[in-house]
């Protein structure tokens, strides 16, 4: 666990760009799908031909309002688009349409859980804006390629208050936000494709000091792990500077994951003057109450409500419920298993948080990419419940499902894992073991109860693990006591 000199207090605020999963771009009708050949999803508007104009995509406004409602934020009934002016080859208009003074979503809150307990993180604002294109430096010599497919993709930039005081809190907040935007289905959350990107503002100050220290902005952090590591690196860097009597420079720094360091990108003096002003091409967006109500009607069950329901409906412990509602995909998966299984919900919860999550973590995949489907998992739970499988053989079946696919019953059949519950067959093996181990039988009879474990083990071994352990135990005790 990362620690630092407790005389220093850390202040962190995050700016998260979430790509809204609209069909078309925020100001044009072009598709937003990822991975198309360069510039094949760039219309006249996206490449900023002379004379073209932006028109607001209502779906993007809907998603922004949905987010605002989900965090109980103030929705600005009148919000305004502004131009952020700067020159860059992948910014076709020479300005980005964003929101400045009147963003669509105002003050709100998100609650996070860390090892230290729960905490409320303030949301300053969330505003709509368009993404830029991409500059491609790798494929060209002495030139840069420009791909404008991404230009105009709708983003919701979610800006937090500087309320986080450790890298762990920053990550907890980011995970919570990541889960929420997927819960409410406004973002696919794909960090590799850049659908969910984070910039972190980090500063340190002597504990107890009220005014904030000079902050740096860390850019280009595209995974939870990198966010944590980048902030950790930056805290150490800033503390080192201050302890050496230096001062932190207000600047933008780029995180380099390969070298695990942050590098200066531009200082405050070099910072752009973006010359924000209201975009005269887009009248202020006025949100009618009926519009907001229609968005509210589409809000799904939110994580807190879902957790409460899981505890109530499935009789889960708060810890299990928290775990199983951490993402909508996990919660949906759990509910699908429950629906298709007669197994006890506690058994399902244990198996998901144990075997399944371990395998997912090991393979570094999300639950929606799990090679074991919820349906197969439900069957597996049924086979444990109906005593076809023991806990041990069930793990073998799970491993086979994960590695090779197939279906639960087929694997049980093929591997001969069906638990022996035929008392005649078990009795036969028990008799063999009693005959083969007279010393242990004698010890048991003399009151050494521990030795029963050895005898059960012998029976299980002879049955290749298929005998029902409870039945073996019962039969052994009966027969020896006779």
């Amino acid at each position: 666990m990362f620690t630092w000199d407790p005389r220093w207090e850390v202040v962190i605020g995050l700016e998260v760009h979430t790509q809204l999963r609209t069909q078309s771009k925020i100001f044009s009708g072009s598709s937003t799908s990822y991975g198309a050949a360069p510039n094949t999803q760039a219309s006249a508007v996206d490449i900023a031909l002379p004379g073209v104009l932006p028109v607001m995509n209502e779906a993007a406004a809907r998603m922004a309002v949905k987010f605002g409602l989900a965090i109980g934020a103030h929705i600005n009934r009148t919000n305004v688009f502004a131009r952020k002016n700067y020159f860059y080859p992948d910014l076709p208009k020479g300005y980005q349409i964003s929101q400045m003074d009147l963003p669509i979503v105002g003050l709100g809150n998100i609650d996070i859980e860390t090892a230290e307990g729960s905490k409320t993180i303030g949301i300053t604002r969330a505003h709509l804006e368009e993404d830029a294109g991409k500059s491609l430096h790798e494929d060209y010599q002495d030139a840069t390629g420009i791909d404008l497919n991404r230009a105009g993709t709708p983003l919701l930039e979610i800006v937090s208050e500087p309320d986080m005081s450790s890298p762990a809190e920053a990550v907890a907040y980011l995970r919570k936000l990541h889960s929420l935007v997927q819960y409410i289905d406004i973002c696919d959350g794909n960090m590799q494709e850049g659908s969910f990107r984070c910039d972190a503002n980090v500063s340190v100050r002597p504990r107890g000091q009220t005014e904030l220290g000079t902050r740096t902005e860390l850019k280009n952090i595209n995974s939870f792990r990198f966010v944590e590591r980048a902030i950790e690196y930056e805290i150490e860097r800033q503390i080192d500077i201050l302890e050496d009597g230096g001062s932190v420079v207000q600047e933008t720094r780029l995180y380099d994951a390969d070298r695990h360091e942050t590098r200066s990108m531009r200082s405050k003096e070099e910072a752009h003057d973006y010359r924000y002003f209201p975009d005269p091409d887009l009248p202020p967006m006025v949100l009618e109450e009926s519009f907001i109500e229609s968005v509210a009607a589409t809000l799904p069950e939110l994580p807190a409500a879902k957790k409460a329901r899981f505890i109530e409906q499935f009789e889960l412990s708060p810890a299990d419920a928290e775990l199983l509602t951490a993402s909508r995909a996990v919660a949906d998966w759990f509910e699908e298993v429950v629906t298709n299984s007669q197994a006890d919900t506690k058994l399902i919860a244990n198996w998901m948080s144990g075997e399944l999550f371990a395998a997912l973590n090991k393979a570094e995949v999300e639950i929606d990419q799990s090679p074991v489907s919820a349906g197969q998992f439900a069957t597996l739970m049924n086979r444990i419940t109906d005593e076809t499988l023991s806990g041990k053989t069930a793990k073998q079946v799970f491993a086979a499902l994960w590695d090779e696919g197939g279906d639960v019953d087929g694997i049980i059949e093929a591997k001969g894992l069906k638990q022996i519950t035929d008392s005649g067959a078990i009795e036969k093996i028990v008799d063999e073991v009693i005959a083969a181990c007279p010393d242990q039988v004698t010890q048991f009879k003399q009151g050494n109860n521990k030795v029963i474990g050895f005898l059960v083990g012998q029976v299980m071994q002879k049955s290749q693990g298929k005998a029902n352990p409870q039945m073996v135990n019962k039969l052994l005790q009966e027969k020896i006591s006779q």
Binding site: L49, P50, R275
Partner: protein, 509 residues
């Protein structure tokens, strides 16, 4: 060739004139009656354009024009009777037309072939209007003399032999083309007076509609909150016809008005008896050229003779219009023109060392002085630390100016005054003094700031024989009322029927 065209227009007013301009309405009647075909008409205009030495056009689309004319004639043969079917028009080179060079008067777009068509042009093409070509203009519509064009200045057909006059600007090419009989009508755009001022200088009717009437999609932006397309014609009746074809809601322009389509000709013939005309004292200050003042006063007398009632009104903040405009328009322009960076289309410097050098050289080479001046003014006005003092303040003034009009229109139906402080001036006479040039638009700018419809109509001539325009401003969306007053005035006067000495019609008459 024109001599072969029958003349059906028989106004008593033109009896003593050798040649009067040919109006769209007349041509419409001739096309309808079959006296002439669109192909013949188009050929005739193309020949006149070719003979002309005014430099009114940047490019001529002879082949596509004739093809469009053929299509129009075919439609006519099939019974299509639209009043504008087959009428040739010229378009300001600010409008994108698919497959045609679209320069906006700038070197930076000297090689830009538009891959799409502006909504206004598409609307007109849908009605069967034939596009003759693209007219000259001040670069990016910034100017009042057409002297800021990369394609050279334009000669006002009203110039006398010894003195070359400017046609006004920025729609100078369109105005010169119509005044010279190179097209019966033309499109223009008006950000601070760019339709009305050249109309006044060239003895035309120029209409700037209410902001939002005509889609701005495909019209290269100068100052987005002020730009508006409109027609340059000989008569108010023609302006109404043209506006019918240009206007309309466009889903591609969020600032276009979603109002039901209207027929702007519907009130043309209404009586203006009892119409209250406001005369703002601020428009008749001692700075006004005395000849212009007396011509405008005479025009107002004519309106009174038609039953209009003149009332003194006040627009107390009108002196703030020019300073407000020269912050807002350059601010918007500085941002709008950022897309001309040499990356995706248009001019790019041939040699450069890195990205910033490419930008710098491209834009240094591609833009003219006036455009650079306004980009710098606008960039400054939006800069951190200056925004509140300039841009925010200018927006407040804009609100005050709009409020003045709201108050004035509680007391009157229309507001009248001169279109320009003085008539057309010689080439080069104001190019060294930008502020003197800017003062040309002092009477026209307030309507842009307030988004109101306004028109200029020919109202008489100075002793030197130069046309003077009467300026009428209407309440928001009251184009029909505005055109009604102009039309009634034109029924009573013949100024608009006088042809320029340099008009092509004179040669062939």
């Amino acid at each position: 060739m024109l001599s072969t065209l029958p003349r059906t227009y028989t106004s008593k007013l033109q009896a003593n004139l050798p040649v009067s301009p040919i109006t769209v309405s007349e041509l419409s009647a001739q096309l309808r009656s079959g006296e002439i075909s669109s192909v013949e008409l188009t050929q005739d205009y193309l020949q006149r354009i070719e003979r002309s030495e005014l430099n009114a056009f940047i490019s001529v689309s002879a082949d596509s024009a004739l093809a469009e004319a053929q299509t129009a004639d075919a439609k006519r043969a099939q019974g299509d009777d639209h009043p504008l079917l087959g009428i040739p028009v010229a378009h300001k080179d600010i409008f994108c037309i698919e497959g045609t060079l679209t320069t906006c008067g700038s070197k930076i777009l000297h090689n830009f072939i538009a891959p799409y068509t502006a909504t206004v042009i598409q609307n007109m093409q849908n009605q069967g209007l034939v596009s003759l070509g693209k007219t000259n203009m001040d670069e990016f519509a910034m100017g009042s003399s057409n002297e800021n064009s990369y394609y050279g200045s334009v000669t006002n057909p009203w110039s006398s032999a010894g003195e070359q006059l400017v046609p006004g600007g920025s729609s100078g090419g369109s105005a010169a083309a119509v005044a010279a009989g190179l097209a019966p009508a033309a499109t223009g755009t008006d950000t601070g007076g760019s339709i009305r001022q050249p109309a006044a200088f060239c003895n035309l009717t120029g209409l700037k509609p209410s902001y939002g009437r005509c889609s701005r999609y495909g019209m290269i932006a100068f100052a987005s909150s002020l730009d508006q397309a409109g027609p340059l014609t000989h008569t108010a009746a023609d302006a109404a016809l043209l506006l019918n074809s240009m206007a309309g809601f466009d889903t591609r322009d969020a600032t276009s008005l979603d109002t039901p389509a209207e027929d702007f000709t519907r009130h043309l013939d209404d009586s203006i008896d009892g119409l209250i005309i406001g005369m703002p004292s601020e428009f008749f200050s001692s700075d006004l050229d005395p000849e212009v003042a007396s011509i405008v006063e005479a025009a107002i007398k004519s309106l009174e003779s038609l039953g209009a009632i003149v009332k003194q009104v006040s627009l107390p903040n009108s002196h703030l219009a020019l300073p407000s405009y020269y912050v807002i328009a350059p601010a918007e322009a500085s941002s709008n023109l950022s897309r001309f960076d040499g990356v995706r289309y248009g001019h790019r410097a041939e040699q450069y060392t890195d990205l910033v050098d490419m930008y710098t050289r491209t834009r240094t080479e591609g833009f003219g002085d006036e455009v650079k001046r306004r980009i710098m003014i606008g960039t400054y006005a939006l800069s951190s630390g200056y925004y509140d003092a300039y841009y925010a303040q200018a927006q407040k003034l804009r609100r005050l100016i709009a409020d003045d009009f709201n108050s004035a229109f509680e007391q009157c139906d229309l507001i009248v005054g001169p279109t320009t402080p003085a008539p057309a001036f010689p080439h080069g006479s104001k190019t060294e003094d930008p502020v003197a040039m800017y003062l040309n638009d002092i009477f026209t700018i307030p309507a842009n700031l307030a988004g109101l419809p306004a028109a200029s109509t020919p109202a008489g001539f100075t002793k030197a024989g130069l046309p003077v325009g009467l300026h009428l401003i209407g309440p928001y969306l009251q184009e029909a009322k505005l055109l009604n007053a102009v039309h009634r005035y034109q029924q009573e006067t013949d100024w608009h029927l006088r042809s320029a000495p340099g008009a092509a019609a004179t040669e062939s008459a």
